[in-house]
C-alpha cells in the first residue's frame, strides 16, 4: 500500500501531530538543558523559530496574495505589547504571580497571551486590509508602512507600557515590581512554527488557496471569474497579522524587554528580505530565508568580533552595519539577478523527497 495514502487518513494524521508535539517537547527539553546544549546556540534556535513564524505569515500576504506589506513589524509589536501587558497587568488580578507558579499555569498564561496578542493583531490586520478596497500595488504598500508607523508612535505614547523607555514591567504598590515573565519555551515556538506552516500549506492546496494565487496573478481576471478580491486580500492580511501577533507574544516572553524602536520600519524590511530571499510564494523559501537571515547576525557577530580583535578590519565595521550592508546588497543583487529568490515558488515536501518535485501552480 502507498505509505502516503495511509498518512492521509484522519487517525494517522492525529497520531502524526501528537508525535510531532511529543518530539518537540523532548527536543526542547534537551536543547533547553544548559549542560547539554550551548545556551547561546539555543538562543539562536529560538530567534530562528520566531523569525520563521513571521516570514511564513508575511508570505501569505506578500508571496501568495501578491500584495506588498512593509508593516509586518507593526503587527508583531501589537502582539508583543498586548501579550506582555496581559501577563504583567494580569498578575494578582486574574492570574497568579507567574514567576512562582507551576509550569502548567505558566504555559497556560503564555498560550492565553499568544491568543490575545494574535487576536488584537488580527483586528489590526483587518483594519489595514480594508483600504485594499480602493488601493492596489505600491499604494497599499505605503499604507501598510503608515500603519506600522502609527502603531509604533501610538505605543510610544502609552505610558502604561513604558513609552519610549521600553517595557519590562511596572511597580505595583502592593506587590513590588512585576516584570514580564520569561515563559516562552522551545515547545511553543516550534509548535507555532509547525502550525503556521501546516496552515499555509493546507490553505494553498485547497480550492480556496487557488483564489489567493489568482489575486496575485491577475486581479482583474480573478474578479471576472467571480473571485471576491477584496475579501481575499483582507483575509490574507487578517491571517498574516494573527500569526505575526502570536510571534510577537512569543518574542515578548522570551526577551522580556520590549522597546518601540525594535519594531520599526527596518524590522519590517528584515522580514520582507527573508521572504524575498527564499522566493515569494514559497513556504519552504520563507522558512529557509528566515533561518539564514535570523542566524546571520549572530554568526556575523562572532566572526567580526574575531576579525576586529585581530585588527583585520576597521573598527567601524560593527555587526549591525555589516548586517545592513549585507541586507541591502542582498536585496539589490537578488532583484537584479534572481528576482524569484532561492526557491522561486517551489516547495520541498516530504512526498517530493521520495517521489517527484512538486510545484504549486504559479
Amino acid at each position: 500500500m502507498d505509505p502516503f495514502k495511509l498518512l492521509r487518513s484522519w487517525p494517522a494524521r492525529i497520531i502524526l501531530l501528537l508525535a510531532i508535539a511529543a518530539g518537540l517537547y523532548f527536543l526542547g527539553n534537551y536543547l533547553g538543558n544548559r549542560q547539554a546544549f550551548n545556551p547561546y546556540h539555543f538562543r539562536i534556535v529560538m530567534l530562528i523559530g520566531i523569525a520563521i513564524i513571521l516570514a511564513v505569515s508575511l508570505n501569505l500576504v506578500n508571496g501568495v496574495t501578491g500584495q506588498f506589506s512593509i508593516g509586518h513589524a507593526g503587527f508583531m509589536a501589537l502582539g508583543a505589547y498586548t501579550g506582555a501587558a496581559l501577563t504583567v497587568y494580569g498578575q494578582y488580578r486574574f492570574l497568579p504571580p507567574l514567576a512562582a507558579a507551576s509550569p502548567l499555569v505558566q504555559q497556560g498564561a503564555l498560550v492565553l497571551s499568544m491568543l490575545l496578542g494574535g487576536l488584537v493583531a488580527a483586528v489590526a490586520g483587518f483594519v489595514v486590509g480594508l483600504p485594499s478596497l480602493r488601493l492596489r500595488g505600491d499604494y497599499l504598500a505605503i499604507v501598510t508602512l503608515g500603519f506600522g508607523e502609527i502603531i509604533r508612535v501610538s505605543i510610544l505614547n502609552i505610558d502604561a507600557v513604558g513609552g519610549p523607555a521600553g517595557f519590562s514591567g511596572y511597580s505595583n504598590p502592593e506587590h513590588g515590581r512585576i516584570v514580564i515573565p520569561q515563559l516562552t519555551t522551545f515547545f511553543w515556538v516550534y509548535l507555532t512554527v509547525v502550525a503556521v506552516i501546516l496552515f499555509s500549506r493546507n490553505l494553498l492546496r485547497s480550492t480556496h488557496g487557488l483564489t489567493f494565487f489568482s489575486v496575485r496573478e491577475d486581479e482583474i481576471a480573478a474578479e471576472a471569474m467571480g473571485v471576491g478580491t477584496v475579501r481575499i486580500k483582507v483575509t490574507a492580511f487578517v491571517m498574516s497579522a494573527f500569526f505575526a501577533g502570536v510571534a510577537g507574544a512569543l518574542y515578548a516572553h522570551y526577551d522580556t524587554y520590549l522597546k518601540p524602536d525594535s519594531f520599526n520600519f527596518l524590522r519590517s524590511i528584515e522580514i520582507v528580505t527573508m521572504v524575498v530571499l527564499g522566493g515569494m510564494g514559497s513556504i519552504t523559501g520563507a522558512v529557509v530565508g528566515a533561518a539564514i537571515l535570523a542566524a546571520a547576525p549572530e554568526v556575523l557577530r562572532v566572526w567580526l568580533g574575531e576579525l576586529s580583535r585581530q585588527k583585520a578590519i576597521p573598527s567601524q565595521l560593527s555587526p549591525d552595519l555589516v548586517r545592513q550592508l549585507l541586507y541591502s546588497l542582498l536585496l539589490i543583487v537578488l532583484m537584479l539577478t534572481r528576482p524569484q529568490g532561492l526557491f522561486g515558488g517551489r516547495e520541498v515536501s516530504l512526498k517530493g523527497l521520495f517521489q517527484r518535485r512538486e510545484r504549486i501552480p504559479r
Binding site: 567601524q316 536585496l331 539589490i332 532583484m335 528576482p339
Partner: protein, 305 residues
C-alpha cells in the same frame, strides 16, 4: 491667535522643505511609476556632503555668501550624479520587471546608502557650526517673534521650485519629461531619448533633495546622521501622494498641508501631543488614500484592462 499664526508659519517652512523633497518623488514616479525609496537618503547625503565640503573649505570661508553658494552648487552636482548613478545601475536593468521587484530594489538602495554613509561619516550625529551668514535678526509680526531662518529656508525652497517649474514647463527638456511621463513608447517614437530624460529627471530630483538636506542642516544646525533622511523622505512621499503623485504643483500643496498639519499637532494644547507629530503624516496619508486616492490636485485615472 498669535500662537496659531506662529505654528502656521513654522508649518509652512517645514512644508516647503517637504515639498522640495516631494518634487523629486513625484517626478520620478511620473516617469517611472516607481516609489524611489532612496530619495530620502539623497537628502541625508546632501547634508553630509555639504558638511564635508564646508569643513574642507574652512567654516569661516564657507560662511560667506560666495563660499556657501559654491558649496551649495557642488553639493547639488554631486547628489545629481549620485541620483543618476542609482537609476543607471539599480533601476534601469529592472525597467521591464514587475513593479514590486523595482520597489524592493529601491528599498535595498535606501538601506545601502544608509550603511555606506555610516561607513564613510560614522554613526555619531554631526552638526554644522553656527555660521555668521545665518545669524539673522528675528522678524516680528504682531505679537509673534519668528526666527528669520525659517523665512530664508522658505524663500530658497520656493525659489528652487519655481526654477524647476520653469524647466519643466518652458524648456525642451521639460517638454520631453512631460512626454515621457505620459507614454514612454510614444515619446521614444517622437525621437525623445527616453533613457536620457529619465537620467535628467533623477538628476533634478536628487539635486532638489540634496538642496533641502543642505539648507535645513546648514541654516538650522540640526543633527546630521545616516538615518536623518528616513523620516523626511517618508513624509515627503506622503506629501507627494497627498497632492497627487506625478503632479509638481501637487507636491508643493501636499508638502505645505503636511507641514502645517504637523506644526499644529505639535503645538496643540501646549505641546501635549508633540510626540504624535510623526504619526499625523501617515494618518493623513491613509485618509487621503481612502477618500481621494488621486490626491488633492491629481486626476483620477481609469484603469484600462
Amino acid at each position: 491667535m498669535w500662537a496659531l499664526l506662529q505654528n502656521f508659519i513654522i508649518g509652512i517652512q517645514t512644508g516647503a522643505v517637504y515639498a522640495l523633497i516631494a518634487v523629486g518623488y513625484t517626478m520620478v514616479y511620473g516617469v517611472l511609476r516607481l516609489i524611489n525609496f532612496a530619495h530620502g537618503d539623497v537628502y541625508m547625503v546632501g547634508a553630509f556632503v555639504g558638511l564635508t565640503l564646508a569643513a574642507r573649505m574652512g567654516f569661516a570661508t564657507a560662511a560667506s555668501i560666495p563660499g556657501f553658494t559654491l558649496i551649495f552648487f557642488f553639493t547639488l552636482a554631486i547628489c545629481a550624479v549620485l541620483g543618476v548613478a542609482i537609476e543607471r545601475f539599480a533601476y534601469r536593468p529592472l525597467r521591464r520587471a514587475p513593479r514590486i521587484t523595482a520597489l524592493i530594489t529601491a528599498i535595498g538602495v535606501s538601506l545601502l546608502l544608509e550603511a555606506l554613509a555610516q561607513l564613510i561619516w560614522g554613526a555619531a550625529p554631526q552638526y554644522f557650526p553656527t555660521m555668521e551668514l545665518f545669524r539673522l535678526q528675528p522678524v516680528r509680526i504682531g505679537a509673534v517673534e519668528l526666527n528669520a531662518k525659517y523665512f530664508l529656508i522658505l524663500f530658497l525652497s520656493l525659489f528652487l521650485m519655481t526654477a524647476l517649474w520653469f524647466i519643466v514647463t518652458r524648456t525642451r527638456v521639460g517638454k520631453a519629461m512631460r512626454a515621457v511621463s505620459h507614454d514612454h513608447e510614444a515619446a521614444a517614437l517622437m525621437g525623445i531619448n527616453v533613457n536620457r530624460i529619465i537620467s535628467v529627471t533623477f538628476a533634478l530630483g536628487s539635486a532638489l533633495a540634496a538642496a533641502a538636506g543642505l539648507l535645513v542642516s546648514a541654516v538650522t544646525n540640526v543633527k546630521i546622521d545616516p538615518l536623518v533622511g528616513v523620516m523626511p523622505g517618508l513624509k515627503a512621499f506622503v506629501a507627494a501622494v497627498l497632492g497627487g503623485i506625478g503632479n509638481i504643483p501637487g507636491a508643493l500643496v501636499g508638502g505645505l498641508v503636511m507641514g502645517v498639519a504637523e506644526a499644529f499637532v505639535a503645538g496643540m494644547a501646549g505641546g501635549k501631543f508633540s510626540t504624535w507629530r510623526d504619526a499625523i503624516a501617515f494618518i493623513l496619508l491613509i485618509l487621503i488614500l481612502i477618500f481621494r486616492p488621486a490626491g488633492l490636485l491629481g486626476r483620477a485615472t481609469v484603469e484600462k484592462v
